[in-house]
């Protein structure tokens, strides 16, 4: 611990399927103290549990080994510590895999895991109220397969204090992956909500990686982004007082300015004054961004209040099966033919296969489906008014989908779309079908004292 020093945190991934090369570039040229891979969404954890139920050695991020293999040699050279929640539903197995990769590479690095987020037994005991249904957990008919509490930054800081070079966690709150190294390096008072709020701001801005540097931002007319194919991931230099300067490598594509930071600040935040995390209730309502140079932004103004005495828990349930099929119609009367095709499929799913009609959803892709009927064809090109409904789109892709109880019922949805080839309207092409099991995700709270984080050094 070296008080007074500025710590550089780099974003290595913003979701489980994120690109690897921008992280390698940062590891190689970013002079990072920490490289953080945020790889968990609510559904990622629950989906990991279905894989773990089928194979006790699975359930962590399938890209974990590939990511570590790509960055660890550079991290060793630069003295960079890796923190990741890629452990997902099986941080123990992920830690073992990380240690294997380190051995294969011939590196001296040490691995620590953070576990204790799995609270399946605790939620069964407490039987808490479920947010989405308003009922007790035990009143929900679907099979509960997973319950993961959002851990905070403290166990991450403890894992770092153990001397680990690679920290692998399960469900840790996304910003806490970044706050953990700041607690460890700056020795912040865990009871100082202002510092925790500032550190959480840093984590929130970095947690989606490329979304801070022009990813999910580009619009060729209103918001051009240079060289988006080589979008660089961001880093932040954080001082002992929580002051933060964000940057990206000059060699990389993308842009980092007050507008990209503003969009990321408010991403999935419904109350900027009360962003609840396991560590602090952060207040972003007074945050401002100042551009201090090319692709350099100073973020300031975050504060915070004491954390709640409960932790959010993500519950995963077996939610049945989703079946779907798609087919394209183009040219004159394509929307009419797509509607006829949908009528045929819907009627057969009900009368021949016994599906519940209300489970069947039809979308006309290219004719306003994404706007859920709100814009109609008006959304396509500003052709407002009722006349728009009479305009034939160039082409329409029909999508029929249904959520059903069994795999067998799910598979007939796409089958019926595919069989339009020889039985349906004229000129249908490019049919595709798939079906998959659904994990339904819901949320509840548990008292903090029910959750016991554990740090293990491998």
């Amino acid at each position: 611990m070296s008080a007074g020093r500025t710590v550089r945190l780099g974003a290595g991934a913003g979701f489980a399927g994120d690109r690897i090369d921008p992280a390698v570039e940062l590891a190689q040229h970013g002079a990072l103290d920490y490289l953080v891979f945020e790889c968990l969404g609510e559904r990622t954890v629950a989906a990991g549990h279905t894989r773990r139920l089928a194979d006790p050695h699975a359930g962590y991020d399938p890209l974990l080994a590939a990511r570590l293999r790509a960055v660890l040699p550079h991290c060793r050279d630069a003295g960079t510590t890796v923190v990741t929640n890629s452990g997902a539903a099986n941080p123990e197995a992920a830690g073992v895999r990380a240690a294997e990769v380190i051995r294969e590479l011939g590196l001296p690095s040490r691995v620590a895991t953070v576990t204790g987020d799995d609270v399946l037994d605790a939620v069964r005991r407490r039987d808490p109220r479920v947010w989405e249904t308003g009922t007790r957990l035990s009143e929900i008919g679907e099979e509960l397969i997973s319950a993961n509490a959002y851990l905070g930054a403290e166990p991450v800081a403890q894992a770092l204090a153990s001397g680990a070079d690679v920290v692998v966690t399960g469900r840790v709150a996304d910003p806490a992956l970044y706050l953990g190294p700041l607690l460890h390096e700056h020795g912040w008072d865990r009871g100082d909500p202002t510092l925790l709020g500032r550190g959480t701001l840093v984590g929130h801005l970095l947690e989606c990686a490329g979304q801070l540097t022009g990813g999910y931002f580009a619009d060729p007319l209103t918001k051009p982004v240079p060289d988006p194919a080589h979008l660089g991931f961001p880093f932040a230099d954080v001082g002992p007082d929580g002051s933060a300067v964000f940057g990206k490598l000059a060699r990389s594509g993308g842009r980092l300015d007050a507008r990209t930071c503003g969009e990321q600040l408010l991403y999935e935040v419904d109350d900027p004054g009360g962003y609840v995390t396991p560590d602090v209730v952060a207040d972003f309502s007074g945050v401002t961004f100042t551009e201090s140079g090319p692709d350099r932004v100073v973020a300031s103004g975050a504060t915070g209040r004491a954390r709640p005495d409960t932790l959010k828990v993500t519950l995963g349930f077996r939610g049945g099966w989703l079946g779907e099929g798609q087919i394209t119609y183009a040219g004159p009367r394509c929307l009419d033919r797509a509607r006829l095709a949908a009528d045929i499929v819907r009627e057969r799913l009900v009368s021949v296969h016994g599906l519940d009609e209300t489970a069947v959803e039809v979308e006309y892709i290219g004719a306003g489906a994404a706007f859920r009927g709100l814009g109609g064809l008006a959304g396509l090109g500003g052709l407002g008014g009722p006349a728009a409904q009479a305009v034939d789109p160039v082409e329409v892709r029909l999508r029929v989908a249904a959520r059903v109880a069994s795999e067998e019922a799910a598979s007939v949805v796409g089958w019926e779309v595919e069989s339009l080839y020889t039985n349906g309207p004229a000129g249908g092409g490019g049919a595709r079908r798939e079906h998959r099991e659904i994990v339904a995700v819901r949320s509840c709270l548990l008292p903090v004292e029910d959750v016991r984080p554990v740090v293990t050094v491998l």
Partner: protein
């Protein structure tokens, strides 16, 4: 000539369960003034009716500046409850851009691009 949100601002969508969240980023101070006055919670609710199931809430974040709207019900079951292709409602940010603003008391400003 009427002006649309698209002429004045950028929008980012996010989701929490059934609720759609839209963050609106005016492109300048003048645009912020217009949107703050005319892009009300009621106007946004009307633009997303009939999918809206409850009151639309608006937060003003002057430091950025930005307006944040919480629109309940739009996502009908959310990402795990609905069979819809874009269950997150990610594309709906651009629906808000098509909203035509009611005219102001002093007429409309020249739109910059």
């Amino acid at each position: 000539m009427t002006i649309r949100v698209d002429d004045l601002a950028d929008v980012r969508a996010g989701d929490k369960g059934d609720t759609l969240m839209l963050a609106v980023f005016p492109r300048g101070d003048e645009e912020f003034g217009i949107l703050r006055e005319r892009l009300t919670a009621e106007a946004v609710g009307g633009h997303f009716a009939p999918l809206v199931t409850g009151p639309v809430h608006r937060h003003v974040v002057p430091g950025l500046p930005a307006l944040v709207f919480r629109i309940p019900g739009v996502l009908g079951g959310g990402v795990t409850g609905s069979a819809t292709l874009d269950g997150h409602g990610k594309t709906l940010s651009y629906h808000l851009l098509t909203l035509e603003l009611p005219p102001g008391p002093d007429g409309d400003p020249v739109v910059r691009r």
